[in-house]
Amino acid sequence: MFWLVGFVLLFVLPILNVLPAEDSWLHVSDFALNRFGKFLAFAILALGLDLIWGYAGILSLGQGVFFGIGAYCMGMHLMLTIGSQSVYGSALPDFMVWNQVTELPFFWKPFYSFSAAVLAGLLVPACFALIFGFLAFRSRIKGVYFAIITQALALMAWLVFNRNETNLGGTNGLTDFKTLLGFRLSDPGTQLALYVVTVLCLGGAYAMCRWIIASRAGRVLIAIRDSEQRVLFSGYSPATYKLFVFVVSAMLAGLAGILYVPQVGIITPAQMGVLPSLEMVVWVAVGGRATLVGAIVGAVGVNLGRSVLTNSFPELWPFFLGGLFVVVVLLFPDGVMGMARQVRGKFAERAARLPKSQAVEGEQT
């Protein structure tokens, strides 16, 4: 299944983008492929959220912050590569010229380098999660309290990034990017390459999450969700495990942000605040927690639904999203994957009634 989906994403869709004539029904437009690349970037973030929420049972409402930090790191690099092609012809980003900033702030300087930007996009969220998580988990803040604190974090980050004094473009964020590593971002070829890189990153992220979950450490995470007290009295330090999974999820969110920016062409504080962070939770809930595949299905599915619905009924989308969350939580607590399991279970039951097969005991999560 993993290889089949990988094959479709990595080869079939790009080939359908390149080969068939533009008016053929088989043709996947540049626009569609680019959109899909964005959804797959979100899916990487959703994997991290599933690790921490689905498996370890820690609800983080601040994943948007880590996503935003990753995205801004890449965005800053892209701003600097514009150079004097900008509207004002200055070497400084346009918004600095408006704000009468005459010299590049010191923290922008490392972002001239592409690899430094990518590294920062992964490591800054990781360090942030490390410090924040250390303080929170050591003080045994959990459950709804952790959720509220992370939500406050999202609000705080939104406020900080909105200010012009932060020198990150304020409300308008970073945009108007021209090139990445010398390739024009407006070229379909560049976008196709970005799509392929995103698919590869998603595959790698999925494999890593699977590996974690299959290890004994993965079972410790589930054990923390089931009975943290027992974990503590079995000689494990739950705080260390929580910190680990929080940092991994922050890095995956940062990676998603890095991949998002060059494909979408803009990053503003609106993408990292309270609402987007909540929406990310909805993706995982809809797809089905503690399955990993569900996180991907949810992220792609909800965003696909969003792009269809916002085209036809732009003002209805928030209601639809809220309704979806309520319906899923009340009626399908295990999301799409849970429904799929039920359906499969029904078929298996019917099949089992015919021949006398060996009973399968218990179910694994």
């Binding site: 004994r216 079972r219 589930i222 027992r230 494990y236 260390t240 005991e361 218990g362 999560t365």
Partner: protein, 255 residues
């Protein structure tokens, strides 16, 4: 009873919850391979005693010495666990979404329980054997692949006892193991604890006097955070103060 012969030694331990002294200048010693039952009315400080030993509660005053000279004051719960003190909680505390095997596998004593060791770790043949032996001890061989959450109440209690045994503790703390069990399950649990006492020191907190008579050798009676009597079941039952504060009320039912 010297300090050096004991597995756990508490001296002058006081736990203060905003003025309420859950433990009041408590002295308490258990020797190696002893099965000790602690009884006492509600609020006597029985569970707090276990909390102090296992590191869940930090006392305001006193000393807690494990084995020869290991001071437990200020240590974290998982560090104390790794030293060799296992704890079975009153309500079954197991991992409902993992299988019986996985529950036991996670509890097994290992050199490192850090994140990087568990990311790479696989079970060795010796470890599997040990888990199998424990399964036999607690009588859950048939349920090994089952989700632990689907076990009966008694089975969950045994599973947790098995998980604690696998930590290979020198001292086992067991809080009301037979609460909510059927008579048959209670008796099996009693036999299980007695067989475990051959290898480990065990402290059992219990309410059920029937069960206390079945397993106890030495009983400690707690009242208002201090030990008021200690000795065999007969001696304790004959003690006037004990009759007055605890057994007296309970004994009415037995006539």
């Amino acid at each position: 009873m010297t300090e050096h012969g004991s597995i756990i030694y508490l001296e002058g331990v006081t736990v203060d919850y905003d003025g309420f002294k859950a433990l009041n200048n408590l002295n308490f010693i258990v020797n190696h391979r002893e099965l000790r039952v602690v009884i006492g009315p509600n609020g006597a400080g029985k569970t707090t005693l276990l909390d102090v030993i296992s590191g869940k509660t930090k006392p305001a005053a006193g000393r807690v010495i494990f084995g020869k000279d290991r001071d437990l004051m200020g240590m974290r719960e998982y560090e104390i666990t790794q030293l060799g003190i296992g704890r079975k909680f009153q309500a079954p505390s197991i991992y409902g979404n993992l299988s019986v095997w996985e529950n036991l596998d996670l509890s097994l004593s290992r050199p490192s329980k850090g994140i990087f060791a568990t990311l790479r770790g696989i079970s060795t043949a010796a470890e599997r054997e040990e888990i199998d032996r424990t399964l036999e001890t607690i009588g859950l061989q048939e349920q090994v692949r089952k989700r632990a959450g689907s076990l009966s109440h008694g089975q969950k209690q045994w599973l947790e006892i098995g998980m604690v045994i696998l930590q290979d503790p020198e001292l086992l703390l067991v809080d009301e193991p037979v609460a909510g069990m059927t008579d048959e399950e209670t008796e099996q649990t009693g036999r299980l604890l007695q067989s475990l006492a051959e290898k480990h020191a065990i402290i059992v907190i219990e309410h059920d006097m029937e069960f206390v008579r079945q397993i106890a050798r030495i009983v400690t009676v707690l009242h208002e955070g201090t030990v008021i009597c200690e000795g065999t079941v007969e001696k304790v039952q004959a003690d006037d103060r004990v009759r007055e504060i605890y057994l007296g009320r309970q004994k009415v039912a037995h006539g």
